[in-house]
Assembly symmetry: C2
Homo-oligomer: 393 residues x 2
């Protein structure tokens, strides 16, 4: 590895082959289905896609070939499961290191008695990928959240020994009642003690009724509302519930990496702080506890997947405590393989990547030390990547 600060992608997903097999065997969302006349099978993940899925299945049962615009979900291209494709994507975009994670909905839907075994299998698969490309690939492990707590705790103990594992990816559902469920706290405590960063990622969005008649199943607004608004709002709600439950006070070693630059947390932190200060039911107790700003400055990292320099600047400013300008807490990511380009070849440059890379350049200056920190230096330090990457040097 050269002396140049590497570019690290901390937000990059895969569905390993054993996971895709599970989706292919299912009858409900999340599901992988093939339809006549299309080159790739479709992967259908979101609850807003139930109706398009049923309509496409009914059409297929009648022997009709659906039009592309009526197909549910998105094409399951090689970008979702192929390591070779991931490495090609990295090379195309000048990414030196990727920290892989299973994509949503992870193992949230798996039967309780199968979850532990499947987690071990998925995590072993990621370990093998990383071992085959040392220094280029690390991963956030998947947790069997539907399994009994002892199985979950044993999984955490196991993954902490895996040489390329640097944390876990976690949805907002926790064990089914959200992350502020008291039953979740021993899990978060074990992750904090093991020094495993929790990459908090949305999947469930918001209840469909908030999108209104035209934003729901008619498809008039595409996937924009659940993805552009539902996802970041879900993340913001989850971390605020953790904050109000006092989890950050009780687990000072807990470190969260928040997807999509914290959802909307950087922008809303001031309002959260004010609402706590003006709530007669909370303020007296809150005075002795850390504020949402303390949490942002000390216990939260943000990825830089926010698609604008406006958002990136706000994320940096919100992360900046007394001893830092916040530049040390932002980490570049791509969200690959989601958001492929519509107007150009998927093997070339992706606009979804350049939007985020350009935001860093525009906000911090092309080639600046600050930009290098966000593009990779922070990830190397926070996720201790040189401990393994050195092997490759």
């Amino acid at each position: 590895m050269s002396s140049k600060t590497p570019v690290v992608d901390v937000h990059t997903h895969m569905y390993p082959p054993e996971y895709i097999q599970i989706l292919e065997s299912r009858n409900d969302i999340p599901i992988v289905r093939s339809f006549p006349g299309t080159s790739d099978p479709r992967i259908v993940l979101l609850s807003t896609e139930v109706t398009p899925l049923k309509e496409a299945e009914a059409a297929a049962a009648r022997g009709e070939a659906p039009t592309v615009s009526s197909l549910p979900g998105r094409p399951l291209t090689s970008h979702y499961a192929s390591v070779a494709q991931k490495l090609h994507f990295m090379d195309t975009h000048g990414i030196d290191v990727s920290v892989l994670s299973l994509a949503n909905p992870w193992l949230d839907f798996v039967d309780s008695d199968q979850a532990g075994g499947l987690a071990a299998s998925v995590n072993a698969g990621f370990s093998a990928m990383c071992k085959a490309h040392p220094g280029r690939l690390f991963f956030f492990a998947a947790l069997p959240v539907t399994a009994p707590t002892p199985v979950l705790l044993q999984t955490i103990a196991d993954i902490a020994t895996l040489p390329y594992c640097r944390g876990v990816i976690l949805g907002t559902g926790g064990l089914g009642q959200g992350l502020d469920d008291p039953a979740m706290e021993p899990i978060l405590a074990a992750l904090a003690e093991a020094g495993l960063v929790v990459f908090l990622h949305p999947h469930y969005g918001l209840p469909g009724e908030v999108w209104g008649p035209r934003g729901g199943t008619t498809g008039e607004y595409g996937h924009v509302l659940p993805l552009a608004l539902g996802f970041p709002m879900e993340t913001t709600i989850a971390v605020t519930r953790l904050f109000l439950a006092g989890v950050f006070d009780r687990l000072p070693k807990l470190r969260l990496l928040l997807a999509h630059s914290g959802g909307t947390l950087p922008f809303l932190a001031g309002r959260i702080d004010s609402c706590v200060r003006h709530d007669a039911h909370l303020w007296k107790a809150a005075k002795t506890r850390r504020s949402i700003w303390d949490v942002l400055h000390e216990q939260v990292y943000l990825d830089a997947v926010v698609y604008s320099d406006v958002g990136l600047q706000a994320a940096i400013a919100a992360s900046g405590g007394a001893s830092s300008g916040g530049l040390d807490r932002l980490l570049f990511g791509t969200d690959h393989p989601f958001f492929p380009p519509l107007d150009s070849d998927e093997q070339g440059q992706w606009e979804s990547v350049s939007m985020n890379a350009d935001a860093v350049k525009n906000a911090l200056g092309d080639g600046s030390e600050a930009a290098a920190a966000v593009m990779g230096g922070n990830a190397v330090r926070i996720l201790r990547l040189y401990e393994e990457a050195a092997e490759k040097a």
Copy 2:
């Protein structure tokens, strides 16, 4: 009026006496109720307060005096209905001009056949207040959204002739199906043609299930989740639905003033833009339409009620188009009479006001031209306040 740029509060509410009488006569939320042993009646507005209201009413029926912490809603102090109190609040905080608006939930719940008459009465009440204090008070009128469309259109024609009316305050419900309901478009068109700014304000928040078992009716997290997150997310969803429906394209004269600095729109605009660019169902048509950034730069104003310089800087940056840095689209507000101080006298300085005023000073420099624009200069220009204020000079 002196040559100094006035300080203008564009986000400041009142419930006129005739409106409070309606709330006193009701049996459901929104409601005003007195409980034994408390000095002020309680005003209960939010759907999350249904259970606390019922419990307090049951306790009162048993002859029990509830503790303050178990009371639903908030105390209905003189700050909600008294013009003298509003002027005292303005003087205390150095506010020269207030643009009053009816507080939520406005006339959203009123029977269809009464809505038109009640709107006329409320708006006449606001007109009289402003006339009694010329140059110090203006107002955003209330609309009878449950009334038949001809009544609504006549109301718009009527308020456009009122000398102190500068726009309307509107919730996100529209006529009941949201603002992107095609039936709402003639209303928005009439407002745009009349040059009336639409102050878009939240009330309904998000469905209670998103707050989880501890954030709901148990009261463990107070009102923080629905107020700090639900309100701004509701606003963001509403304006994004308007955008996706093409309303801004079809009504280029439409001007929205978004409460709470746009909810979360400044932070999420990049992600909205990216999701449109990567949605196979939308992108082809979207290429010929204006982007969410165009809307922010040309058709949306943001109040400065965001409680942090992080949020304020993001709001300014998001508002800045090619010809402006965005400083011309932000307007100071207080959200009075909500968020009174808990630790000091309500007749003195309010921390909720100083948090927003300090954010302007910290972000733009105390006494700077930019700060003066946000604190009042922009409101004078955008809302044409000197046309009336000159009478007082």
